[in-house]
């Protein structure tokens, strides 16, 4: 079963990475084929496991006290584009171009 171009396009949108070439798509097909082996296992009555520490109640809420911060300078240091204390991003709310308009390998398929 091949994954449809619509789904591949959808994945590129969700992941914001591209398949790049037919090898990339093949890689996905092989990954799915591999994962399909899971259905061989009988999991009736088995609960999904989120964490191996589920019996230990690790996750807790701490007190809502400010214990650290004031590190604006350090946090901005690694950003390439910034203005005063802001990270600068290109214009938002512009969806990625549709499949037909994008430069993507998927166009040819």
């Amino acid at each position: 079963q091949k994954v449809s171009v619509e789904v591949l396009d959808h994945l590129e949108h969700l992941a914001l990475v591209d398949f790049r070439d037919s090898e990339g798509v093949e890689r996905l097909h092989k990954a799915i084929q591999f994962a399909d082996q899971l259905c061989e296992v009988n999991t009736d009555g088995v609960e999904p496991m989120d964490s191996v520490l589920e019996d230990r109640w690790c996750l807790y809420l701490r007190e809502d006290d400010v214990t650290e911060g004031n590190c604006t300078k350090e946090l901005l240091e690694n950003a390439r584009e910034k203005v005063e204390e802001y990270f600068v991003a290109p214009p938002g709310n512009i969806p990625l171009p549709k499949l037909e308009e994008r430069e993507t390998f998927l166009q040819s398929s």
């Binding site: 994945l11 990339g24 946090l75 991003a89 290109p90 214009p91």
Partner: protein, 527 residues
């Protein structure tokens, strides 16, 4: 003191008694790093800061106030741990030039104990891989490729050109750390272990590789791959040293990592005289996996006999879902990766594309430029498995299978078995040219098969170098213990290490650095 000494036994004593100074030790390691550059074990060498740390340590020793056993000891850290002021790349274009603003908790703990941070070691990009061959800085070479032991066994060719292409991989993804410890450029190194990434290269490089129980050591500052399975790993030349690192600083609750358990960690020292006759050792039959080399099978059997002869109860056990752990891992790993890699968008740190049309297109271009095929492949697969129409069938299903795998171990340990004994890898290290003939996912699926289940269940596991293969390369065996029973696990490992007396690597470069004033020690671990 020689670069080949064990921490607790010899180096620490030598430092205290002034027979060697921290700056001398540091300088020798730095020199050795330079002369073993061809191994490509280090991405960044922090020469200046290391020497400064060594000087500070020296001052403390002069005042008679060392911070502990680790004071002045040169260590290396895998390049997926944040280190303040030092570049942290994860061997990816995405983080080239990224200077961490903070230290990972484990790094901070080492520094607080006075350890000297020599540098950051090489890995597969974002720790995805089992060869340490897929990072942007190139592959790591296994130091044993250049050992007398390996060269003697290689079919003699007339020119060094052959030797150049004959080198073997370190295994991965913590290959740089394993190579650094193996080639004596540091006394201990941090790795990470998600599917075997510390134990696998430890086996191939002939060093001790410990994967602690999930929740014992803080992951704060370890750039995450799979949050529910990642742990920092410890690589050392002998089991005692691993216990020192675990106990002197690394283990314990961290308020910055809510997945660390809150129980107080009691540091321990391993006994010198060990009696294994009261132990029950389990041999899981499913670990006789397809592709397991006959050599390793024989060693495994011999090891079981060693325990039997010492009076331990050795029983065959079954972990029936072992064969599904790789598939399960494949789904859970890619799913968590898809989520974890979402933070790399070029806005706050790391690589940023010049694309300016829109935020989304900038993100897409940044990620296209920053990630290699392996990383992109896993992100896309992960997103596929997490699609609404696939979620139950793949992700939730895998979580259920995970429980079955974890329960297999619970059942076995409940039946009275204390420790499991298994091989760590299917064979000794492959030559690089052979290894790269298969793609990353295939290799990972093959190589992780013996190590992955321990991550699934969160259990502690350790590789102990056992013997040399027919090709003159290291082979290790793995012990898997009960949750949070690191003391018992390490005690058994230490006993085993003493029995097998794994040979010291004979590397020309090391011998040169060791000769002169100080004696060359005969064994990697004291006896």
């Amino acid at each position: 003191a020689a670069l080949t000494d064990g921490l607790r036994s010899q180096v620490s004593a030598a430092l205290k008694e002034g027979r060697v100074s921290p700056t001398e030790l540091c300088q020798r390691c730095l020199d050795l790093i330079k002369s073993t550059k061809f191994l490509n074990a280090y991405i960044t060498v922090a020469e200046e800061t290391a020497l400064k740390q060594a000087e500070e340590s020296e001052e403390r020793y002069r005042r008679g106030q060392p911070l502990g056993i680790l004071d002045g000891i040169p260590v290396a850290v895998k390049d997926n741990f944040n280190t303040a002021g030092i570049e942290t790349t994860c061997a990816s274009n995405m983080l080239k030039g990224y200077i961490s603003p903070y230290n990972a908790t484990v790094v901070q703990k080492l520094l607080d104990q006075g350890a000297v941070l020599l540098g950051k070691t090489n890995l597969d990009e974002f720790a995805m891989g089992s060869g340490s061959t897929d990072g942007v800085f190139g592959p790591v070479r296994n130091p044993w490729s250049y050992s007398k032991q390996y060269k003697e066994k290689s079919v003699p060719k007339s020119h060094s050109g052959e030797e150049e292409s004959n080198w073997v991989i370190t295994g991965g993804s913590s290959g740089g750390s394993a190579a650094a410890v193996s080639s004596f450029t540091c006394f201990a190194a941090l790795g990470s272990d998600t599917g075997g990434s510390t134990r696998n290269p430890a086996a191939h490089c002939g060093v001790v590789g410990l994967k602690p129980t999930y929740g014992l050591i803080s992951r704060h500052g370890l750039i995450p791959l799979v949050n529910s399975m990642d742990v920092p790993g410890i690589l050392t030349r002998c089991v005692d040293d691993a216990a020192v690192l675990l106990g002197s600083s690394l283990a314990g609750h961290d308020p910055k990592d809510s997945t660390t358990i809150q129980d107080d960690f009691k540091p321990f020292e391993l006994p010198d005289l060990i009696d294994v006759s009261k132990l029950s050792i389990g041999i899981p039959k499913e670990y006789h996996a397809p592709g397991l080399s006959s050599e390793i099978l024989a060693l495994w059997s011999k090891a079981a006999d060693l325990f039997k002869d010492a009076g331990a109860k050795v029983v065959e056990v079954s972990l029936p879902h072992t064969c599904y752990s790789i598939v399960c891992y494949h789904v859970l790993c890619t799913a968590e990766v898809a989520s974890n890699m979402a933070r790399f968008d070029g806005l706050e740190y790391g690589h940023r594309s010049d694309m300016k049309d829109s935020t989304e297109s900038m993100y897409a271009a940044t990620r296209r430029e920053g990630f290699n095929d392996v990383v992109r492949g896993r992100i896309l697969s992960g997103n596929y498995f997490l699609l609404k129409q696939n979620y139950e069938k793949y992700f939730v299903k895998a979580q259920k299978v995970r429980r079955l795998i974890a329960n297999d171990f619970v059942k076995v340990f409940r039946s009275g078995v204390d420790i499991l004994l298994t091989p760590t890898t299917l064979s000794d290290a492959a030559p690089y040219t052979e290894f790269i003939q298969e793609d990353n996912r295939t290799r990972s699926a093959q190589d992780d098969i013996l190590t992955q289940a321990a991550n699934m269940a969160g259990l502690p596991a350790i590789n102990v170098p056992t013997a040399l293969s027919e090709r003159g390369l290291p082979v290790g065996l793995q012990f898997i213990g009960r949750s949070f029973q690191e003391k018992q696990l390490l005690t058994v490992a230490k006993w085993f290490e003493k029995q097998v007396q794994f040979p010291v690597i004979q590397l020309e470069e090391v011998e040169r650095h060791n000769s002169g004033v100080f004696q060359h020690q005969k064994s990697a671990s004291f006896s």
